[in-house]
């Protein structure tokens, strides 16, 4: 893999305050880099900077090894393209919209026609080519916007929350189609989203941005199972943090001591290190005291139910195990166990479900 785009010591100031700091970030050939983070984390600012639509206050962008000049970035922008949250189509025909990027680049008419037509077909909207763009539905319009961006066959495709304005079924279909298309064409892309599922589905790598800082860049599964710090953990859905201290480390397995009990976790932290034990609610299994089956779950804790909160087909159960522990179980198993506040239960989780983050 080689870096198509590279960022170094990037900083954006707004009204004298630093709103984005990225010490180092690269976009590799053929990858889809998903940039995730809560609202206001600076995702769009980072995206606009990567597109050379925003001049960084400090730092440098390199495209295929060459620095991108902050003035005269047109040549760079003509090798990339952009899809925003709103489709932002021009008030003309669908075909003219799909062809617009090619016309900006002064491509010959025949080539423009071939490519615009081809990408409208790929996005499943070729039948709408003669329609006026204004008359399209939200999903159709976003497909045309994608066709318009892909028609220029960009070396990097920038996608800024392209699905967040769509309703759920439309979004799911388009996400699915785009996933197929990106992996088939091995299109290099940077994809900004606040939706973790979208990042998991499209991203080959995930960059986590929190409060203007790039906190972690890793494979999607790793960000979810091994978040680098408590804030990332909270963003990716870890709900239980337990301060603890490492007792021993053997064969990639850590034994840690928390307040009055011990937990086994995958990890290679040195003994004595102070850590947080992070647990995702969906990794916790609950049993009533009556029947605890033998399973591979190494860790068992006793507690009492303090609260149950239905969430669609699932139930969020908060336990008091000496510390608050959150578990997410199906509604049917909650009913089977007769879960209610005050009921004593056993919570079990595997060593691989417990992730350790060092704490100061």
């Amino acid at each position: 893999m080689s870096a198509v785009l590279e960022v170094r010591d990037l900083e954006i100031l707004r009204d004298g305050r630093s709103v984005l700091r990225v010490p180092q970030l690269s976009v590799e050939e053929g990858e889809v880099l998903a940039v995730i983070g809560p609202n206001g984390a600076g995702k769009s600012t980072l995206m606009l900077t990567l597109c050379a639509l925003l001049t960084p206050s400090r730092g440098e962008l390199r495209f295929r090894g060459q620095p991108i000049p902050s003035r005269g970035a047109l040549a760079y922008r003509r090798r990339t393209s952009l899809v925003l949250q709103e489709p932002l189509l021009m008030d003309t025909s669908v075909y003219d919209n799909a062809a617009s990027g090619l016309r900006f680049r002064g491509l010959p008419r025949a080539e423009t026609q071939r490519r615009a037509q081809h990408w409208l077909e790929r996005l499943g909207v070729a039948g709408l080519a003669q329609r006026r763009a204004r008359t399209l539905s939200g999903g159709e319009a976003q497909r045309v916007s994608l066709a318009r961006a892909l028609a220029v066959e960009p070396e990097i495709l920038f996608l800024d929350e392209p699905f967040s304005a769509l309703d759920a079924p439309t979004r799911a279909r388009l996400l699915d189609d785009l996933q197929t298309l990106l992996s088939e064409t091995r299109q290099t892309a940077v994809f900004v989203t606040h939706d973790l599922n979208e990042a998991l589905l499209l991203g080959t790598r995930v960059a986590v941005l929190i409060a203007g800082e790039l906190r972690q860049v890793a494979a999607p599964q790793q960000v979810f199972s091994a978040p680098a710090d408590p804030e990332i953990a909270a963003f990716v859905g870890v709900e239980t943090y337990l301060p603890a201290q490492v007792i021993s480390q053997q064969d990639g397995l850590n034994l840690v001591a928390a307040d009055g009990f011990q937990i086994e976790a995958l990890g290679q932290q040195p003994p004595g290190r102070r850590v947080y034990v992070c647990l995702r609610p969906e990794d916790i299994t609950l049993y009533t005291s009556a029947g605890v089956p033998a399973s591979s779950a190494r860790n068992r804790l006793s507690g009492t139910v303090t609260r149950t909160l239905p969430q669609g087909p699932l139930v969020r159960v908060t336990l008091d195990c000496g510390f608050p522990l959150v578990a997410l179980i199906t509604r049917s198993s909650a009913e089977e166990m007769g879960l209610a506040p005050g009921l004593p239960v056993q919570a079990a989780f595997k060593a691989s479900a417990a992730h350790l983050i060092p704490r100061p």
């Binding site: 047109l74 393209s81 925003l84 932002l88 003309t92 900006f104 003669q130």
Partner: protein, 232 residues
């Protein structure tokens, strides 16, 4: 009532008799106001675009100036242009006073702020992220401006109509800098004022009908262009 009726009959007669004087007055009105509108477009379109898309510290000040300019009283413009073109004025040597060119200058001063202000408004009502999207698609500065003009073509045509409307119907400045000289600088509005003051109401009405018909036809043409829809 008979006065109006007589006037209308006279107007039809004048229209169809192809009276050479009426034709030349009408022709001059069209020519002067047409050129003035064209020049104000050449000035107002780029200026309005600059004010709408530009980022510079004095922008707000210029916008307030343009908005004030949209309501410039024609007589004040007439006075200012007269002072400049007067024999002893700064541009007196050009000997433009009481010529059609003088009227064109005055009418341009009236129409340019209208076109500028409405161009500014037309571009500002577009989604501000459209400019970003166009840039992101690889458009150059000129391509962006062209695309935004196309996108705002309906309100921009309204700016043209308003500019033309403001000068074809204006009388104060034309009178002051043109002098209403028969066969030289007499336009429809100044002729109407003259006929009215002579008590020749029938002729005044006839000329008014021609003026309104002219304004209507021009706007009909522009409206047709504006409202032409792409096939759905």
């Amino acid at each position: 009532m008979s006065l109006i009726w007589e006037g209308l009959v006279h107007a039809v007669q004048l229209l169809f008799s192809a009276d050479p004087e009426v034709l030349s007055i009408t022709g001059l009105s069209l020519r002067v106001s047409g050129i003035a509108t064209l020049v104000s477009l050449l000035v107002g379109l780029p200026l309005g675009t600059l004010l709408a898309l530009g980022h510079f510290p004095t922008r707000r000040f210029w916008i307030s100036l343009v908005n004030t300019g949209m309501a410039l009283p024609p007589v004040v413009v007439g006075l200012a242009v007269s002072i400049f073109l007067w024999r002893s004025g700064p541009l007196g040597d050009l000997r433009l006073m009481y010529t059609p060119t003088a009227i064109i200058i005055a009418q341009t001063v009236i129409a340019a702020p209208v076109v500028t202000g409405l161009t500014l408004a037309a571009l500002q009502q577009l989604n501000p992220r459209l400019e970003l999207q166009l840039k992101g698609l690889g458009a150059s500065r000129l391509q962006i401006v062209w695309a935004l003009w196309r996108e705002a073509r309906l309100p921009l045509l309204a700016a043209v109509m308003a500019g033309f409307g403001s000068v074809i119907s204006e009388v104060g400045a034309s009178m002051m800098v043109g002098g209403n000289l028969r066969g030289q600088t007499r336009v429809l509005t100044t002729a109407i004022v003259l006929e009215n003051s002579k008590g020749e109401f029938a002729v005044a009405i006839a000329l008014s009908v021609i003026l309104m018909l002219l304004a209507y036809l021009i706007n009909l043409l522009l409206t047709w262009v504006q409202q032409r829809r792409l096939r759905e």
